[in-house]
Amino acid sequence: MESLVTFGLAVLHLFGFYALLAVGLGLVFGQLGVVNVAHGEFVMVGAYVMYALDAVPFVLRLALAVGVGLVLSLLAEWTILRKLYSRGMLATLLAMWGLAIVLRQVAEAVFGATPRSVPFPVQGSVDVLGVRYPTYRLLVAVVSLLVVGAVLLVIYRTSLGLKLRASIENRDMAAVLGISPRVMIAGTFAVGTTLAVLAGALNSPTLGLTPGLGVAFLAPAFFAVLMVRPGSIAGPAVGALLVALLSSLLRTYFTETVADLVFFAALVVLIAVRPAGLSWRLPSWLTRSSERVA
């Protein structure tokens, strides 16, 4: 029983983290049609902002990290990506990878390659069904899931969200209806990557900070996006739960290396079986028509 609760709490914590990542990745993917390979680096940026500004109170630091994320992503979209969309997805993908390289190297040049840590803002632990669990982890999991919920609420229940969804569904038609594609692309990219920055900032006390800390998160987040119906915006959050479950299970029974290899193998199998994402309904015309368009 106790081990089950511990396991559940670990899954919850990972779920919050991957939900933030996967929803952001899914949004950018839906809008641009390209996986943001710099997504993990934005996690790293969030964590390092928390490290660099350690004099500032924690909550204010979180807000600052979000601000940095917004500015950075808008700047990147404006200076690098915007000119490349017309050159096709390969150019966009490479530019994002270039951005990832630069972010990693800036972090290494400024902070060095030695691991850094961020102190916990909340010490102590709470009793959950007879298991002692660090308060901060629980808090982070709850906050992460609340943020994901809020973002999905905005996307599905406000007119701004409607515009965003319209633009993802059919950018040209949305443009004809007066929804600026430029604003929507920049906005989606900013929101999506800022969610990753927030994930990094929130989890900075539990992560060992190195410039390369983000790269490992891309594959699980992508896995979460592929686990659900292609094009779905809320789906990646569900996918994140499955990823959290899977990776917690693997970590319980295997060493880190074997867990990574099994996870990689699972990713390969998933892609082989459902290359364009799992649709839990049977043959969906959506996947085929989107393939034709692409």
């Binding site: 690098i80 990693r104 790269v215």
Partner: protein, 570 residues
């Protein structure tokens, strides 16, 4: 053999090869040991970049984790050396494992419906897993400390061995792969997968083969690199190495041999000169350079040089592939008459999109040499039906035959290899090649000798890219390609759209003429009744996914139901 040698190797190529060999042979006589070591390093890294280029630059397969393969080769050599096994065996084992891993990744990530960026994520995860494995399996790899590989042959000996392997590998791959049918197919797939597929090229297989060769060459580079670097550590398979090879290639120039070696050479030498002074700022600078190249000069240094030297358009478009029509042994077309087998047939085909049924039970057989026109109101399912015949949509029910074979579950390229040609509503040609190269690819993939037509002459030109042709010209080019490819059945989707009246009548006569002379069956969706009258042996009217009526044009136009449904006559 000699003919093929002569075709593949031009005078310039032979000169470049001899020049490179002489320069490489002379280098130890002019260079001091340290620069010579640098050159050796630059050569193996150049080979690595060349390996990546085979996937990324030639076939358009993204890999951002290619060091995984390099690392496998390097560890193969190093582990063998540490256990007193001949290094050659270890290196070969590394290459073999790399090919197997690449096969697994390629089969999954390059599938028919895989998202284009899947390979990026997969290869990134692969390089992370590899370096993680190298770090933690200390009994095999000695963990983060790495394995020391001593070279027994001294600086000059190592140099000559390395240079020989690099030169021979590049020359062989260039001659066998890049100048052969594979190189041509890489270009075709990269530029227009849809068109390539409908010329009978298997896109998935071509990409996987490109990825396998690429992995093998990269692993070989790693195996050769081990004694040159002297220390094989997890970083050889890691993310930084993967990133660096991308930078070398992007800076040097994609899709060129000189670009791969130039980029690797420049960055390696720069790293030795500036790396110590600048430390991690050097890599940052490389990252910025990479971004600048992607953003402003996607063709890299070699591309810039070529533009400055005003190399001929066709040379730049082909990127080293041999795009000349081959007079290969094409089987002459079997006699059309006498065969009672229908050229193509569909029975009881149903196809819907989600809840919307589009085709609801269509039976159609087309005899060899017959011209069938599909007409019907918008939304009748004409284009979808062509798509079902060509293999783009899989029907929910029913069967499709080509010349007696059941092809219902066959991919488009397999149907194409059985003689099914396809023309699209929006012409699909290789936009980044010249018209002449477009025709050359079609002919090289051809099934039968081309139907002699005056149509081809106007496209025997290298002065512009297909991209610069007008829509009508692109359509004519597509037709010329498909006809010179020698189809047995040709599916056409509104061939006359966008043409002037005279041109479309002319087109209809050409098509009619081709069908009569070659026995090629035509199935055309067409709206213009005058063209239908000019072409069709038989007219099939589709309405609401069913065949309303079929017969000659006169029968059709006399039919009351057709007049109501289609012509709007009450």
């Amino acid at each position: 053999m000699t003919a093929s040698l002569g075709r593949r190797v031009g005078g310039g190529h032979a000169l470049a090869f001899v020049g490179a060999a002489l320069l490489l042979a002379a280098a130890p006589f002019v260079l001091l040991p340290y620069p010579l070591t640098l050159l050796t390093l630059a050569l193996v890294f150049g080979l690595f970049a060349f390996g990546l280029d085979l996937a990324w630059g030639r076939a358009g397969v993204v890999s951002i984790g290619h060091a995984a393969f390099f690392g496998l080769g390097a560890y193969g050599s190093a582990i063998a050396a540490a256990r007193d096994v001949p290094m050659v065996l270890g290196g070969a084992a590394g290459v073999g494992i790399a090919v197997l891993v690449a096969l697994g990744v390629g089969l999954a990530g390059l599938g028919r419906r895989a998202l284009p960026s899947t390979m990026a994520v997969l290869t990134l995860a692969l390089t992370l897993a590899m370096s993680q494995g190298a770090r933690s399996w200390t009994w095999l790899t000695n963990g983060t400390n790495g394995l020391v590989v001593l070279s027994d042959s001294g600086v000059v000996g190592t140099y000559y061995r390395t240079a020989a392997i690099v030169l021979v590998t590049v020359a062989l791959v260039w001659f066998v792969v890049l100048r052969g049918a594979l190189g041509r197919r890489f270009v075709a797939i990269r530029i227009n997968e849809q068109r390539a597929e409908h010329l009978g090229i298997d896109p998935r297989r071509t990409k996987i083969v490109a990825f396998l060769i690429s992995a093998a060459v990269s692993a070989l580079a790693g195996a050769v690199a081990a004694p040159v670097i002297g220390l094989v550590s997890p970083s050889a398979a890691g993310i930084v190495m993967s990133t660096e090879v991308l930078v070398w290639l992007a800076v040097g120039g994609l899709g060129t041999i000189s670009g791969a070696f130039l980029g690797a050479g420049l960055v390696t030498i720069g790293d030795q000169l500036l790396g110590d002074v600048l430390g991690s700022w050097y890599l940052l600078m490389m990252g910025v350079v990479f971004l600048l190249v992607v953003r402003f000069a996607p063709e890299g240094l070699v591309g810039l040089a070529r533009a400055a030297l005003r190399r001929p358009l066709r040379e730049r478009a082909a990127g080293g592939a041999l795009l000349e029509p081959v007079g290969a042994s094409l089987t002459p077309r079997p006699a059309a008459a006498g065969s009672s087998e229908p050229a193509i047939g569909a029975r009881d085909v149903e196809k819907g999109f989600g809840a919307v049924p589009v085709i609801q039970g269509v039976d159609l057989t087309v005899a060899p040499g017959e011209v069938v026109c599909l007409i019907g109101p918008n939304g009748a399912g004409k284009t979808t039906f062509l798509g079902v015949l060509a293999g783009e949509h899989r029907p929910e029910r029913g069967t499709i035959w080509i010349a007696g074979d059941d092809v219902t579950t066959r991919a488009p390229h397999e149907r194409a290899r059985r003689g099914l040609g396809r023309m699209f509503q929006i012409p699909s040609v290789f936009l980044d090649l010249t018209p002449r190269q477009n025709l050359a690819i079609a002919r090289s993939e051809g099934l039968h000798p081309p139907v002699p037509l005056p149509l081809y002459d106007r496209f025997d030109s290298d002065t512009m890219l297909a991209r610069d042709l007008s829509l009508a010209d692109r359509r004519a080019l597509e037709l010329a390609m498909v006809l010179s490819w020698g189809p047995e059945i040709l599916l056409l989707d509104e061939p006359a759209a966008g043409l002037s009246h005279e041109d479309s009548i002319e087109l209809a006569r050409t098509l009619r003429d081709v069908a009569e002379r070659t026995g090629c069956s035509l199935v055309a969706v067409e709206h213009d009744m005058e063209i239908v009258r000019e072409m069709a042996d038989r007219v099939v009217v589709l309405a609401d996914g069913r065949i309303l009526v079929e017969g000659s044009m006169d029968e059709i136009s006399a039919h009351d139901e057709v007049r109501r449904a289609y012509l709007g006559v009450s």
